[in-house]
């Protein structure tokens, strides 16, 4: 049973990362519990609730836009070979490798006043950094749909558009949905580009930074706790719903 020892060894190495991710999360909550008063005060701070609302709304709008444009693109990338396809594919991945402050500068240089300090600006910044998740997940989802299934649906009289909505999309749904969730998660965790493009209207991410600079750790921590609680809850909930649908008995 030598192989088991290898596995145990690897698991102990890997658990370092798990602990590393979990520890700050736990400590953040535990420390906040000892400062309950500040948390209650923060919840009643209209600046904070306004900022949280802004974050949730813009991230959700970003996700919807990413789905509307990213799913069709993912389908094309999965089904069609065309000259320049690898260039398009590389371009889709570009936002992942660019520092987010640079993204902000690029957007501001390109669209300047049209997006400066507005909801449009927040969404623009979020979309740029998070759309690749939807595009790539949709592409992978459609690649896994057997082309014969689509062909049969065509022979049975369905138009290509009908085949897409009644066959391809439902089959690829779990993949597309988990991509959209990742897009939402990435959007709501974006700070760098938003700081540059749209400091106002204030989002929770930016507010945390502002409170930290102006009032210190004690003031910014409760917002961080609220932010993490809300986004993690929504993230886990959505993942659970999609996972349940994907594994539903067929």
């Amino acid at each position: 049973m030598r192989r088991d020892y290898t596995l145990y060894f690897f698991a102990s190495l890997g658990s370092f990362l798990i602990a590393y991710i979990a520890l700050p999360l736990v400590v953040l909550f535990v420390k906040q519990l000892s400062d309950w008063e500040m948390l209650v005060k923060t919840i009643h701070d209209p600046y904070v609730t306004e900022a949280l609302r802004n974050s949730l709304l813009t991230a959700t709008a970003t996700t919807l836009i990413a789905i509307a444009f990213g799913v069709p693109l993912g389908y094309v990338l999965a089904r069609k070979d065309f000259p320049g396809k690898s260039l398009v594919q590389a371009l889709v991945d570009v936002p992942i490798v660019i520092p987010h402050s640079v993204v902000g500068i690029m957007l501001l240089v390109t669209f300047s006043n049209a997006i400066l300090d507005s909801y449009k600006g927040i969404i623009a910044a979020m979309l740029f950094v998070s759309a690749p998740f939807t595009i790539n997940a949709a592409r992978d989802g459609f690649l896994a749909v057997d082309e014969k299934v689509e062909a049969v649906a065509r022979t049975l009289g369905a138009s290509p558009l009908r085949v897409f909505f009644s066959v391809s999309l439902p089959i690829a749904f779990p993949s597309v949905a988990s991509g959209a969730i990742m897009t939402w998660a990435r959007a709501i965790s974006e700070v760098g580009a938003i700081l540059i493009v749209a400091y106002y209207p204030k989002t929770a991410q930016v507010l945390i930074l502002e409170y930290f600079n102006n009032y210190g750790l004690r003031a910014s921590r409760p917002i961080a706790v609220l932010m993490v609680t809300i986004s993690l809850t929504i993230f886990v909930l959505l993942r659970w719903i999609v996972g349940r649908k994907a594994n539903a008995p067929r």
Binding site: D146, K148, V149, A151, V152, A153, R154, T155, L156, G157, A158, S159, R162, S166, V167, P170, I171, F173, P249, R250
Partner: protein
């Protein structure tokens, strides 16, 4: 009803060359060829999924070459059946009817009707993933037939089934065709399917349709050495069965199983024993035959024989040919075991 004219196509590693054939109304037409011959590509060209480089496809006299699959109305059953995994069996079968905006009660009635004939009524609420191979095959067939297509395209419909299910469903297929009366273009690499189900057969080798004809014709008169080698020189005897007796061209043959009506039986040439005198053996089929011709194939010799009006081919070694002095016109005795016969 369907005519393919001069179809050529280079697609991946397949090269179709100048394929021309016709499928008649009500017929079960089989395209028989080894795997890699390009049979699936041909089927998908006819379905409209792949465009041919050259050639035309006519359906009931109308040129449909430039029409997309949804405008052709041909039903297609791919080798892996390609059931819609996101839909129940009922919705799979109903798909084509829903697309055609058939009223709901009518859809319900038609789906039930066809499911009953195919024996899958009890599966209607299930998802395809939970079905066995044989069940999936019948669902795919039901889905294709529900829209009452002029022609149904079958790609190796029995290839993914275990041996027992296969022979059972081949038998069933004959019954379904009698009951539902569809026209089929069926591609396969299996002689058993060709001989059991085919009205006519086209042999496809290396992207070319090298011979088209009735099953008996193709198997008894291969157009070339290539076809003959591919078909394995099988003797196919066609006749009328009554119990364990088969009457074929005035010759009475004993069968291994009971059968009734028109049947085809296969007999491998190496299972035929030749002798100069009537011999005492356990083989129960013994006939007097005339040697029509002799073909030398290196160490083996193929002897063409005539028994009454029946033509048979047998293999013997070169040395036994010389020893027995077998030449054209010579009278010999032919015998073969009942168990050597394969009833299709």
């Amino acid at each position: 009803m369907l005519r393919a004219e001069g179809i050529s196509k280079d697609w991946k590693e397949f090269h179709l060359r100048d394929i021309t054939f016709e499928v008649k109304e009500g017929e079960h037409f089989i395209i028989l060829g080894p795997s890699g011959a390009g049979k699936t590509v041909l089927l998908e060209i006819i379905a409209g999924i792949i465009e041919p480089d050259k050639g035309r496809v006519y359906l009931n006299g109308r040129d449909v070459t430039d029409l997309p699959p949804e405008k052709r109305g041909l039903a297609y059953v791919p080798q892996n059946y390609a059931l819609f995994p996101n839909m129940s069996v009922f919705d799979n079968i109903a798909f084509g009817l829903k697309v055609r905006k058939v009223p709901k009660p009518e859809i319900e009635r038609k789906v039930r009707e066809i499911s009953k004939v195919l024996g899958i009524e009890h599966l209607l609420h299930r998802k395809p993933r939970t079905l066995s191979g044989g069940e999936q095959q019948r669902v795919a067939l039901a889905r294709a037939l529900a829209v009452e297509p002029p022609l149904i395209l079958l790609d190796e419909p029995f290839a993914n089934l275990d041996v027992q299910t296969r022979s059972r469903l081949i038998g069933e297929m004959k019954r379904w065709r009698e009951e539902l009366g569809f026209t089929a273009l069926h591609v396969t690499h299996s002689f058993e399917e060709a001989v059991s189900l085919g009205d006519r057969v086209g042999v496809m080798l290396n992207g070319r349709l090298v011979q088209v004809g009735s099953v008996k014709e193709v198997f008894s008169k291969p157009a070339s050495e290539e076809v003959a080698r591919f078909l394995g020189f099988e003797n196919i005897i066609e006749g009328t069965a009554e119990g364990r007796k088969l009457k074929a061209n005035g010759v009475e043959i004993e069968l291994p199983v009971e059968a009734k009506g028109r049947v085809r039986v296969g007999l491998r040439p190496e299972d035929i024993i030749l002798s100069l005198e009537p011999i005492r053996t356990s083989a129960r089929n013994k006939f007097k035959a005339t040697v029509e011709s002799v073909e030398e194939l290196g160490p083996l010799v193929r002897v063409h024989l005539r028994v009454g009006n029946l033509h048979l081919r047998a293999f013997i070694t070169r040395s036994s040919m010389l020893e027995m002095g077998i030449t054209k016109g010579r009278e010999v005795y032919v015998s073969f075991k009942v168990s050597a016969l394969h009833v299709f």
